[in-house]
Homo-oligomer: 209 residues x 2
């Protein structure tokens, strides 16, 4: 079932969900694919097609119930349950992520961080304890985290990945600027902020004036 579903579709489901959060906050109860599409500039047919991959969620002549579709998208994405998450590396970026409230609000709980710097180990950021990397396997077994965020230096990213895989992690979000060899049975998603800047740069450079 999952086989036929493209990453692009899944990414768009997240975007729809984000937009639905806004509609809900504004007190909008029902949206049509057309309205949703206009807000995000995509085609309305694409929204219907993406949703159709998973079932029938709308009512012809009416549209989609905002709360109901929100719940359905959460169920599809899996964020209708809570996901314990750990973060590897306790640098600046890591701290910013630990203090970002949006993760908690959307089902992700950062339960522990890991570093090797003795000045950081055994301190806390908010409620989140920072452990030594040596304790990785022990703590992971305790906290049942299935997702990990990688903010360690590129040079050690692969070995940390392999340890995470060994400890039974299911998915890794990689902020290191290096491509990771993906261990069996794991998903890795890379966030390269520099690449995003380069994309803007490309368009600014090659714009048709």
């Amino acid at each position: 079932m999952i086989e036929n579903i493209s990453d692009s579709s899944v990414r768009r489901l997240s975007a729809y969900l984000r937009q639905l959060e806004h509609f809900s906050a504004d007190g909008v109860a029902v949206v049509s694919s057309q309205l949703l599409a206009r807000r995000m500039n995509v085609g309305d047919a694409m929204i219907r097609r993406d949703l159709a991959l998973f079932g029938q969620f709308g009512r012809p002549g009416v549209g989609y119930d905002v709360d109901q579709l929100t719940a359905n998208l959460r169920k599809i994405l899996g964020t209708n349950m809570r996901w314990n998450t750990v973060i590897l590396g306790a640098g600046k970026l890591s701290r910013a992520l630990m203090e970002y409230p949006g993760f908690h609000e959307r089902g992700f709980e950062i339960v522990a961080a890991f570093d090797i710097d003795p000045r950081k180990v055994d301190t806390k950021v908010g409620d989140i304890p920072i452990h030594h990397m040596d304790e990785l396997e022990t703590i992971l077994a305790q906290c049942q985290a299935r997702i990990a965020i990688l903010t360690v230096p590129a040079e050690v990213a692969q070995q940390v990945t392999d340890r995470l895989a060994g400890a039974g992690i299911d998915g890794i979000l990689n902020f290191a600027t290096t491509h990771l060899e993906t261990p069996q049975g794991i998903h890795i998603d890379q966030v390269d902020i520099t690449a995003h800047l380069e994309q803007l740069c490309f368009h600014a450079t090659n714009a048709i004036p």
Copy 2:
């Protein structure tokens, strides 16, 4: 010319560039599309195809000169020159980005930040001054920045975007969890870290066991 080039291709060019940086650091002078492809698990033909969009950079029977291809990719992306960049919002994430050395190394110079919090305004993060939002247009005119990074709350992201557009910014990297209406002549690229987590979540939930 730019019309025919997909965003996916441009994103991959960044990824190739990142990998070439690693090859160069390891002292590798020449790479074949096959070797590069193996390192990134993509097809070798795709790399050749992506590059072919912009010219002929390799030598049949040999491969690509690492330094030369690096220089060519930088030229294509536009990062062979320096890009003054400003950052809007001076929260945790913003500070992490300001202190990230990778931007400078790759051609992006964060020259100023903006916020409305009086406790932050007129202080500095490293060498980067934090100005009041009121000064946005004045400072932008001075520092000639063409790229902006948005880390402001979602509620004000659109109005800040419109001001940036009015002040002549060419590209915006948006970290706010809201879709932005794109002003004429500007490019906007969104980074939704939650969406990345949701993607992992989706795969972990719907994995074929």
